[in-house]
């Protein structure tokens, strides 16, 4: 079902393209030897190159190039063996050189794609137009002084990948799914940590609207620097609504840059039109064109980790998990690794159930992540083994898991300590049931006269009497037998 917004003149379709700025994971900056680490005392991760001192020359960081190529491979994109750096000229206090070194005419990565899963179970392909390398700017701090802005250049010159999507996105949900998937791929490959709070990933959102069936795009607006997936989705909705109102009032949408204000839930014009930027791109004379070898690209490709789509397909084939389960298990590599450690040597379907259910619940409850899980993968596997070999039943296993989280003891140690071993002795089960039936003769009469629902009551009473340790299948079987006597 296509996403539509209903205006006073009927339905509208939205058209969205995203430009994502992803900070490259590297030790040093794109063109200097200063640290690219987040944070640090103000203006300490700065070299004279970053500060734009006269005569300082940029030297390209090879690892940043490798990271861009790896990302391109992860997006199944064209890798351009020839690319080039251009200067994008503008004046701003946190840009010491007066230009940003970027790749305009010849980006390192060309057309690629991202597959996204939607809530209705369908899959959509969102095109990637290009990916290029560029420098980040410094940081302006406006709230320290009434008349002055403070400038910290620690981020100036840190490598960014700008990843531009095709205008293929048709709903806020698709935009969210695209960003989540992109972040997942970047994190798998290790080229960007995807941390939106620290600004490692930000998005510029291009929005336009049109009537369903129109083949041309109408004028778009660009919403700058949105720093969470939720805000991207909100900004699209709010901006589309605004544009529809403009068109329906007989006006025209101006192409402009806007800002999303999540508190007031509105977008505002950011720059007046006469001040529109003219960046006067030209090739940076300080840098030779970048030429890379196909053999190097092949080496990088061979060393890539398994990517999310491939991992999902493999988990489904190898362990029989569902499409939904594979999506949850593959959100992060660490979760998938944990699952595989549990599933190898346990019932793989049972392992998926337990991970998605009680295990994640325990992580949430304790506020822990998979990396510092209170229960190890081996520990969970042992617990599941005890269920599979009928040492304990599923209900008791939940209690054991809680104890494992609490005490850190192993599953078998807890079962021994608490005496939770399942009772499979038919004699013991039968005698427990006989006691229950004897104490509830009235209910037995009702059951026999047709009140079938009471069967659950007898099961419950029996399990209670046996402190939950009865083998459920045997309890059922024995109850049926004795009740029909």
């Amino acid at each position: 079902m296509s996403y539509r917004i209903t205006g006073s003149t009927g339905e509208w379709e939205i058209v969205v393209g995203l430009e994502v700025h992803a900070q490259v994971v590297s030790e040093a900056k794109l063109f200097s030897g200063a640290s690219a680490e987040y944070g640090g005392e103000p203006n300490t991760h700065v070299s004279l190159v970053d500060a734009g001192f006269p005569g300082m020359l940029p030297v390209l960081n090879q690892e940043c190039v490798a990271q861009a190529v790896r990302t391109g491979l992860g997006l199944e994109a064209e890798i351009n063996l020839f690319s080039r750096f251009d200067r994008k000229n503008y004046f701003y206090a946190d840009l010491p050189t007066g230009y940003q070194i970027s790749q305009f005419a010849h980006p390192i990565i060309g057309k690629g794609k991202v597959l996204v899963d939607l809530a209705d179970g369908s899959t959509r392909e969102i095109g990637v137009t290009r990916l290029h390398l560029e420098q980040d700017a410094g940081k302006s701090i406006h709230d320290q002084d009434p008349t002055r802005s403070f400038i910290d250049l620690n981020r100036a010159g840190v490598a960014l990948m700008e990843i531009v999507s095709e205008p293929d996105i048709r709903s806020p949900e698709e935009a969210g799914a695209y960003l989540r998937k992109l972040r997942q791929i970047l994190r798998y490959i290790g080229t960007c940590d995807g941390n939106m709070e620290e600004g490692s990933m930000r998005a510029d959102v291009n929005v336009s609207v049109r009537k369903p069936g129109e083949t041309e795009y109408r004028t778009r607006c660009e919403i700058k620097n949105v720093n969470s997936i939720r805000f991207v989705m909100m900004a699209i909705e709010v901006e589309a609504q605004r544009q529809i109102e403009v068109w329906e009032a007989g006006g025209t949408v101006d192409q402009e840059t806007r800002l999303f204000d999540h508190v007031r839930s509105e977008t505002r014009s950011l720059r007046s039109k006469e001040d529109a930027h003219d960046y006067r791109y030209f090739p940076d004379p300080d840098l030779l064109p970048l030429v890379i070898e196909q053999s190097w690209v092949d080496e990088l490709k061979a060393a890539l980790p398994e990517l999310p789509e491939a991992k999902r397909a493999r988990l489904e084939a190898e362990y029989g998990v569902s499409r939904y389960e594979s999506s949850v298990l593959c959100v992060e590599q660490a979760i998938a690794d944990f699952y595989e450690t549990v599933a190898r040597g346990a019932d793989a379907r049972l392992a998926a159930n337990w991970m998605l259910g009680d295990f994640f619940a325990a992580l949430n409850r304790t506020g822990r992540s998979i990396e510092d899980s209170p229960v190890s993968a081996e520990g969970l596997r042992e617990l599941l083994g005890l269920i599979s070999n009928s040492t304990i039943n599923g209900k008791i296993a939940k209690e054991v898991l809680e104890d494992m989280v609490e005490t850190g003891d192993s599953a078998s140690a807890i079962v021994e300590r608490k005496g939770l071993r399942q009772v499979t002795d038919t004699g013991a089960i039968e005698s427990a049931i006989r006691d229950i039936l004897a104490a509830n003769t009235d209910k037995v009469e009702e059951y026999k006269s047709g009140k079938d629902k009471l069967f659950g009551f007898f099961v419950g009473q029996t399990m209670k009497a046996m402190k939950g340790k009865g083998n459920p299948a045997l309890v059922n079987e024995t109850l049926k037998k004795l009740l029909s006597e």
Binding site: S26, E27, A28, S32, G33, A34, S35, E41, P42, N43, T44, H45, V46, S47, L48, V49, A51, V59, L60, N61, Q62, E63, C64, V65, R84, N89, F91, Y92, A93, S140, I141, H142, Q144, D145, P146, T147, R148, S149, F150, I151, D152, L153, L259, L270, R271, D278, R280, P283, L287, L288, P289, L290, V291
Partner: protein
């Protein structure tokens, strides 16, 4: 050929250079003659020739991904027209 006043003013604005009206006039003429001179290049037929960026004789030198620089705040801030503690300061810029 002389560049018109509007174009000169726009270029000056992009370069953040303030011009007096009489300067707009003379600069328009100067820039016009520079452009005319460079226009001579158009006489050469470059159909099918890629723009030349560098000589193609050398490949760029690449650096290893190691931290070898930075931690020189005093040098970085030494020429700052204004500073406050560890920061450069500039007249307030808020969009």
């Amino acid at each position: 050929m002389s560049l018109d006043a509007k174009t000169v003013t726009r270029i000056a604005r992009l370069a953040r250079i303030g011009l007096r009206p009489e300067e707009v006039e003379t600069l328009g003429q100067d820039m016009g003659s520079i452009i005319d001179w460079v226009e001579q290049l158009k006489e050469v037929d470059v159909t099918g020739v890629d723009p030349m960026i560098g000589t193609g004789l050398a490949k760029p030198r690449l650096r290893e991904d190691r931290v070898t620089d930075g931690d020189c705040r005093d040098k970085v801030l030494a020429n700052a027209p204004e500073r406050e503690g560890p920061f450069f300061t500039v007249p307030k810029v808020v969009e």
